[in-house]
Structure formats: structure tokens, C-alpha cells
Symmetry: C2
């Protein structure tokens, strides 16, 4: 069996990365696995341990770092967020497509440990559209929205470090584009060697 | 506008490369262009000049080679077959996906002139299936079929030089796989720089 494909998905806030990946998980079902991050922050009402995050103590988080179990991690405010390596490795070994939804900052480290990972950056059709989407959420103050937009502008500059760019204008098109990327990667010669050998050797 | 994508498609005889490409041309319509080869062989009943081949004289063929107008060419028996460069360049400039259906032998040269070309090798599910397809055509003698199968075995070894492998088991799946490859290539960062700049600069 072929090893699975590791897919890193990043995007500025409000570009719909969680929705796109969740739609793809619905399509791929048991062929896909979404990595669940570890965090030291408090669980919020409605969240489930092991689903939204693995909620762990700062001590446990540190131990994971020291044991080389963190693929990448970052600090936001007083809280730490990180991606444990073991479930990623296990699911790749089982041939699954493993998704990591990672902040633009953290995405750079993944290729040091998994050089074969493919990185997808989701962009909005324009910053105007992104702004109106953020305002549509109506959860943030005007000031918070302007801060998010400034961060988005900075993060978009990092898109050049990614392998693929997917525009999320119409959600279904963005989902279909990511599915095309995954299928194309599966068809690359390095992932098709087993199949090729099978055809040649059964001669 | 982005330059178009150049796609080389090769396969052993009987693997359905012409059918797959023809289905894709139907889907992509004016976004795609199939390169028509030049040949020095006689036109056969039912063939149309400029559709099946550009039928030209040996002198004209030689002149094209000398003028650097042949992307690749090969001799089969007494006849020459080759791919003219100009229509490929013109259609790439217009942003079209340009398909070259090329013998396994000739595929290697294309990347010297177009390093960004992507090469797809179509394989049969197995050599048994290929054999039964060749027999199903009922156009060849038993000896000719065995010769084709031996050539197919040799050609399959060259599949390792290609970027992508597509298995043609169910035709629609093979067509969908090639479409995924084309879409994924369009989404690569080097082909998305214009779009990315547009979003960043309209800030």
C-alpha cells in the first residue's frame, strides 16, 4: 500500500479553510484524517476534548515538545497550540490523506519533518470580499476586523511559500480544486510506482 | 493572462490515449488545443489534411527540421512524423492547455524546449486487459498483437520518466484523473502569481 498524502492547509482568518476541509472530510470519509491540535487553553462551552482540540496542561505540552512529539507549535497570548506527530504518522502509514489546518506562521516547519507534504494556501477573491465576510460574521468589533485585515495582508505575502493557491470564491469550486490537487498528487509517478510495478511484473 | 499548460500524453498502443484526450477536448472546448502532427506518409481514405495530420512532403519536413520548427520527430518505416512548434507556442501564449499525443520515444525531447511541460503516461489495468483490448479490435493478426504487447512491455519501463501515471480502466475515471492533473497544475503557485498579486495589490 502507498503511504498517504500529507496536506497542510493555511489561510488568513475568514477565508473558509475549516469549511473547505470539513467538506472534503465528508467526501473522502475514511480515506482522510484531520489532525487535531493540542492546546493548553481552557475548554470553552460546546467544545469536546479530542474533537476541537486535545486539551492538555502546560506541563504535558512541554513534555511533548521535549520528546520531539510536536510537529509544530505556536504561542498565542498565554496559550500554546501544537500538532502532535504520532497520529499524523499513523494515519499516513495507513494510506490516508492527512490534513493539517495550520496558522500561516506554523506551516513552514512541517516540511522539515515531512518534506513530501503539500501545502495549500486558501485566498479570498479580494480583500474587499474578505472584509465583507468578516463583517458578516458580526462577532468582531470594527477595530478587530481592521486588525484581522492587516494580518491577512501580511499573511498573503507568505502564500508564495506554498505549493498551491486555491481561491475560495464559490465554496464548491474551492472544494473541487482541493480534491483535484489531492488526486493529482496521488497520480504523481512517485506515488504510482507500486501500481506501475504491478502492471510490469505481471507480464 | 497566464501562459497555458503544455501536456504530453503517451501510452502503449491500445491504452486509449486518443480517446481520453478527445474526451478532454470535448470538456475543455476552446480552453484546449490538440497539436496536429506533420507526416510524410500518404493520406489514407477518410483522413483530412490538418485534422488527422498535416500531410507534407519529405522536402518540407526536412526544411522544418532545419529551421528548428520540429519540437520532436521520429521515423517509422519510410515515413517521418513530427510536432511543429509554432502552433504549440501560439496556443500556450493564448493561455490554452495544449495537448501533445506523442510516442513514448519522442516524449523525452519536449522538456528540452518546454521545461515546464507536464508528461502523463497512460497505463492499462494489466497486460492481460491490454491484450484482450487489442484482440477485441480484431484488426491485427495474432503475431501483430504479440508484437504490440512486447513493445508495450518495453514502453511501460519508460513510464518512470513521466510526471504522472493515469490508469485507464474505466474511461470516465481516466478522463477525470487527467482533468484533476490539469486543474492542480493550474493551481500551482507559479501559475497563480498573477491572481495572488491581484489580491495583494488591491489592498
Amino acid at each position: 500500500m502507498n503511504k498517504g498524502l500529507l496536506v497542510v492547509v493555511s489561510a488568513p482568518s475568514g477565508c473558509g479553510k475549516d469549511t473547505v476541509v470539513s467538506k472534503i472530510l465528508d467526501i473522502m470519509k475514511e480515506d482522510a484524517f484531520l489532525s487535531v491540535s493540542m492546546t493548553t487553553r481552557q475548554m470553552r462551552p460546546g467544545e469536546t476534548d479530542g474533537v476541537n482540540y486535545h486539551f492538555i496542561s502546560a506541563e504535558e505540552f512541554n513534555r511533548n515538545i521535549l520528546e520531539g512529539e510536536m510537529l509544530e507549535y505556536a504561542q498565542y497570548g498565554d496559550n500554546f497550540y501544537g500538532t502532535p506527530i504520532s497520529p499524523v504518522k499513523k494515519n499516513l502509514e495507513e494510506g490516508k490523506t492527512v490534513f493539517l489546518i495550520i496558522e500561516v506562521e506554523g506551516g513552514g516547519n512541517v516540511k522539515k519533518i515531512f518534506p513530501e507534504a503539500k501545502k495549500i494556501f486558501i485566498i479570498p477573491p479580494s480583500l474587499e470580499v474578505l472584509e465583507s465576510r468578516l463583517r458578516g460574521r458580526a462577532t468582531d468589533s470594527d477595530e478587530a476586523i481592521r486588525a484581522r485585515l492587516r494580518i491577512a495582508e501580511t499573511e498573503l505575502q507568505r502564500a508564495y511559500e506554498y505549493d498551491y493557491i486555491v481561491e475560495n470564491d464559490v465554496l464548491d469550486n474551492a472544494v473541487s480544486d482541493v480534491m483535484s490537487i489531492i488526486r493529482a498528487e496521488q497520480l504523481r509517478i512517485n506515488n504510482m510506482q507500486n501500481k506501475l510495478r504491478e502492471v510490469i511484473n505481471n507480464a
